[in-house]
């Protein structure tokens, strides 16, 4: 019995859970494109608010889950923000911190960069928590015409990750009992990996061969195609979400390209 992985699908009945996997994938892609295209803070703030709204309201993730899953990344973004704010050059001083000038431009850029990373992590969390990997695999087959063997390989890889994670934890515990202490140096870490690799490899090979036997015994791969009893389909809400995201991405990049987006610094407000 152990702690469950945060970045893992959980069934639910929220608006986002009900959307088909490809719509959610399109949403994730659009958020990433918007975030990468925005180098000024106010746009990133809007995107972050939109993603947080999606996480809390549309995907009904609890603040605790969001915090537990992203606090480490949040901390990394915060340090990124502080370092960039203090080190990047700028021309307009916003205020002084312990005698050190904080520039409007560098703070804005740092905030945009930090939020960009956090937004992408957060939107990935929303996607992973609300999307059944199997449905995504089926959608790839039925909607994107990906060969089903490839889609299943992808699905099984995702399905097996928690099992391998669990096995690594067990090996770690088993070796800690032997008196093995976690190494800090690079050479030590390499030695540690070697110790983990052998039992992990032996266990994974055994599991993989069992899976192959179980699949072949049930005629997997016997025919070029297979029936899908339940295949996800894009609903009206899915079409709406895709349309909105497409319009947003095209408008944003058009506006960028035509120079309509003028820099407006948050700290200068």
């Amino acid at each position: 019995m152990s702690r469950s992985t945060a970045f893992q699908f959980r069934s639910g009945n929220s608006f986002f859970h009900r959307l088909d996997p490809l719509t959610k994938f399109a949403w994730l892609l659009a958020i990433s494109l918007l975030a990468f295209g925005a180098y000024i803070a106010w746009v990133q703030i809007l995107i972050t608010i939109a993603v947080l709204f999606t996480a809390f309201v549309l995907a009904r993730l609890s603040p605790r889950v969001v915090f537990r899953s992203t606090w480490l990344f949040g901390l990394a973004c915060l340090s990124f923000l502080v370092i960039q704010t203090l080190t990047l050059p700028g021309s307009h001083v916003a205020f002084h911190l312990l005698g050190h000038p904080i520039y409007v431009e560098s703070a804005d850029y740092a905030l945009a960069s930090a939020l960009r990373i956090y937004t992408i992590i957060l939107s990935s969390l929303v996607f992973v928590r609300t999307t059944d990997p199997r449905e995504l695999a089926i959608a790839l087959v039925t909607q994107m015409k990906v060969p089903y063997r490839i889609a299943y390989a992808f699905f099984i890889a995702l399905r097996i990750i928690p099992t391998i994670e669990e096995e690594i934890k067990t090996i770690h515990a088993a070796q800690a009992v032997r008196g093995v202490v976690r190494e800090r140096s690079v050479a030590g870490r390499i030695g540690e990996t070697k110790r983990y690799a052998m039992p992990l490899l032996v266990g994974s090979l055994r599991k993989a061969s069992m899976m192959v036997m179980s699949m072949e015994a049930r005629a997997f791969g016997a025919y070029p195609q297979r029936t899908f009893v339940e295949a996800p389909q894009m609903s009206a809400s899915g079409v709406a979400v895709c349309t909105v995201m497409l319009v947003l991405v095209i408008s944003w990049y058009t506006a960028l390209g035509l120079g309509y987006v003028h820099s407006f610094y948050v700290l200068a407000a």
């Binding site: 036997m213 015994a217 005629a219």
Partner: protein
Amino acid sequence: MALVAADCPADIATLRSTEATAASAAQETMAPTEVRSASDLAIDIRNVSYAYEGESDEVLSHVSLTVRDGEFVLILGPSGCGKSTLLQLMNGTIPHTLKGHLEGEVSVCGKPILSTRIASFATEVGMVFQDPDAQIINTRVRDEVCFGLENLCRPAPEILERQREALDFVGLNGFGDRSIFDLSGGQKQRVSIAAVLAARPRLLVLDEPTANLDPAGMAEIFAVLERLNREAGTTIVMVEHRVDELADRVSRVLMMDRGTIVFDGTPREAFSQRRAAHSEENSTIPTSAWLPQACEFALALGDRLGIPVDASGMPLNVGEAVAFADSCVGTAVATMAPPAADLTRSSTADGPTFLRVSQLGFGYEKDRPILSDISFNLGRDEMIALCGRNGSGKTTLARLLMHINTPPHGTIWLEGKDVADLSAREISSEIGYVFQNPDHQFVTDRVWDEVAYGLKVRNYADNAIEERVGEVLDIVDLQRYRDRSPFSLSLGERRRLSVATMLVLEPHLLVLDEPTIGQDHERAQQLMGLMARLRERYRTTILMITHDVRLIAEWAARALVISGGRLLFDGSPEAMFADERLIAEAGLLTPPVYEISKALAAKHPASLLQPTLSVPELADTIGRMEGKVA
């Protein structure tokens, strides 16, 4: 979500073999019981020898076997005897997936395996393996049950109907939308069975399907299999070790040893005498654990009373054993002293407490405690069983003792020190922990280094290391392999090596995590024998996490029962087995000998008979009553 039937195009249908099409056409119009081919031989194996690719030793040697429709065949044999290999022939996994050198002829459901694809067996042979987590492909119950028929390009409405039927049959009606991760071990294994039943197979082949389950999960599986065989007429071939529960359910028993079938007959014939087999290391091992306790009791009683017990009179279950004993018991009431206590399980705690658990509570999330308010003490030289259902919190408790998981401050005290303040390395010189899978614990490339590791990291002097490692390698009988890689040893040897790595630190407590899971009883017995030697030498307390009732009955002097994260019981195994509510709550079963002795004691209240966990003790008592045992 819409229901979409992406049926196979017409050209795919033509790819299917004529046979398969004919069989499926027949199945569409028939109930499971009516599905039969012209031949009533489900399996026909003639003079088969087989060696895995790249190996010269044969795993199977001149094996011949025919199984008729409707039979329920149990295969017994020690590890490495070739029983799993034999099962893999039964749907063409050998030779199609697992290559190698195969001689002889094999036909399954009338089809020769050499010229038939594995997929063509999908509607006729269902394969179920030991580990439900490795064989379940999908994450939702319904998807798993539909998987095979989807691969066979059946129309969606038919698939859904069949999955409903299959789930219904295994008693999981309404579980379709559940996540696999939320099911118990027994439920998962029932899903695995439903997943092959959906294709309505004529033959079901199972390789130790209950090895990873607790007794309650095991009972679920055996009940399903019995119904399948009796009501649906499905032929079942199964490798299993749980003979107590199976002896009166199966119609035929095969015993294998070193790649050959050494016995083939009815259960009564199979269990009418004690036999021996060979281990992977080629030493002779007794197979008493393959003898149902009912038979063991009848043989012991026959010995005491000087009555030969032939196969026709051999009891296979508790009811039959009681009737058998009843026929031997007279009305004379003996006046002799009670029998001597069983030495293997006699010792209890002595000396001061060295480990104290006080009001321990633990959980990864505040609102979902795994353990609550656990308190108990451990002394030196005890043999304790920690019991409870899968997921009851047993392993979590043991891991807290080791500080693998961090316990709350002030809840676990080791020799007066708070475990929360000690590192795993400090604790591991006092407490050893033998994991289920020995491979997880190996950290070096050589047997000698493996045993020496614990001493080296604790800065022992070279000569002390040399001396202690040599001594421990002798105890576990691995001195001759001192320069080999741990991974090159057999499973039994790897288990012993894993124990040796703990032993070398002379711990006060050794925790054994499920010593019978994933391995046969002989190995568990060997391991327990090693534990007995350890106690003799170092006065080590052994805490075994287990729900193997025979192991508990035979070895433990004290039992702790955990259910729902709470300690429900701390006392003798006899008192535990006497409490029916507790046994039900802990998902345990009572050992047959206990049931037999209880029933006999109730029938003969004026006699010396009383409920017991020991077969020799019960036989001796009856022998005394009859004046045949001094």
